[in-house]
Symmetry: C2
Subunit: 295 residues, 2 copies
Amino acid sequence: MKMSRKINVNLDPENDFLYHLGFDTNSQNLEEMFGDVRVVCMGGSAHRMEGFAHYMLDILGYNLPIGTKLDDMTINAHRYSFFKIGPVISVSHGMGMPSMSILLHEMIKLVTYAKCKDPIFIRLGTSGGVGVDPGTVVITDKAYNELLHNVHEFCILGKRVPREAVFDEETIKQLIACKSEEDSFDIVNGGTMGTNDFYEAQGRIDGAVCDYTQEDKLEFLYKVQAKGIKNIEMEAPMFAALTRHCGIRAADVCVTIINRLNGDQVSLSPELKHEFEMRPQIVVGRFIKELLSRE
Amino acid sequence: MKMSRKINVNLDPENDFLYHLGFDTNSQNLEEMFGDVRVVCMGGSAHRMEGFAHYMLDILGYNLPIGTKLDDMTINAHRYSFFKIGPVISVSHGMGMPSMSILLHEMIKLVTYAKCKDPIFIRLGTSGGVGVDPGTVVITDKAYNELLHNVHEFCILGKRVPREAVFDEETIKQLIACKSEEDSFDIVNGGTMGTNDFYEAQGRIDGAVCDYTQEDKLEFLYKVQAKGIKNIEMEAPMFAALTRHCGIRAADVCVTIINRLNGDQVSLSPELKHEFEMRPQIVVGRFIKELLSRE
């Protein structure tokens, strides 16, 4: 599938301040700083994305000059954490579609101003599984909203707008091909539901309030499963929709840390949680090595 | 107005893990740790809420024991930053209603398990003004969603649910009474629109994409203004709705950092931005001092 960029014609490349990142086109040469970027990796927590940055250093075999360390390039904007490892960016997006949306708008402007060539955006996340074993890596094909529609529904100027929420087929195939026989975990692809809340919207019965029963919850989760949805997180539809709208190849790679058909509380040991969180990093790490070796 | 708590009957006070905070009722005595809490202050960035924690230490005249410092109590959960200053909690909520929602569910469970007496939840934020001068402090009475309805509309088990989104009248009055004649800024009350996106939903023309004109945008913003809405941010409806549903007094105190009728780009100097960000802290600081002096 070929996609064409559909970027905002109002943008002024000479005079734009990416407020939540703290970069600007006025005093900084974004092309010089980021023109070599091929892959933008995103994940919820700053801690995890700093870890991924170090993991990338490792597997790409980069040595930083003695006396230097990776620097959070957006620390003064106080919103996200942002690391550059050669052609790879590792940046946190916080939790939920609004936080993801702010990051994505500004990252898409950044790669546009920097004239990056066909950059690929990948989210590495955690999620609740629906009928799959905890520890499974799910690569999303279609993203569903809370109403179980395969769109991102949001508002523009006070009106509801649906935007197509599917990920790039070719990138999905390439990611699935990164499976190794030695892996102790499964990689599957399927639908992902992205919600605006962790408790009520996902049918958990352990939130501060709960106006439904355990039976209502299970009925809903089986309906979710029947749609081909393999996992639930809080970013997929927005992420799929905006990247596709802008003609940017994107993928969502999440490990499941619970099977929601069996419960609500996440209670992994810190060791197992870390092992699970590494799995999307392992898969995406292989994808990036392969991509760079082809170029 | 008298409110009664309407907390989830499924909760097991002996066995609950507040996943995104990292507290649990099993190995920790939350009543001993947090039973004295009177006010929970929340704001977007970890940096700002750490600053507010130090500001509270200062204005409450607390001295930490020599050799100690404030500790981010939720650092190992890697999601929010959380500080306790005697009866005050200062915690970051990230950006947007989903991130706010996760925090609120877990904070409401926390104050319930800790048996806090009538705790008050206050958000201190930044916002875009609608027809008010930058630097004005807006105290929200009614919260509006992106469709300009005075509700928080969200999904429970795949169905749209509207929840009433008004803040506590008495708390608003008390906050407005904190105005001092020496203040160099205005404090007003009025409506606040909370959106799920900073760019398209707020009618900015400087996002990565923009499928409308400057004229469409202004038409929308004047419609917003005609509703009595004084500022736009990304948390108010969800925050108002869940706290009210649970019978918790709450208030939203935001400074405006731009007048959206005049533009989209936020371009304050770091000094002025800091001065503006201090204004909600000054107002809420006075409110807390007054509250504690009455008890």
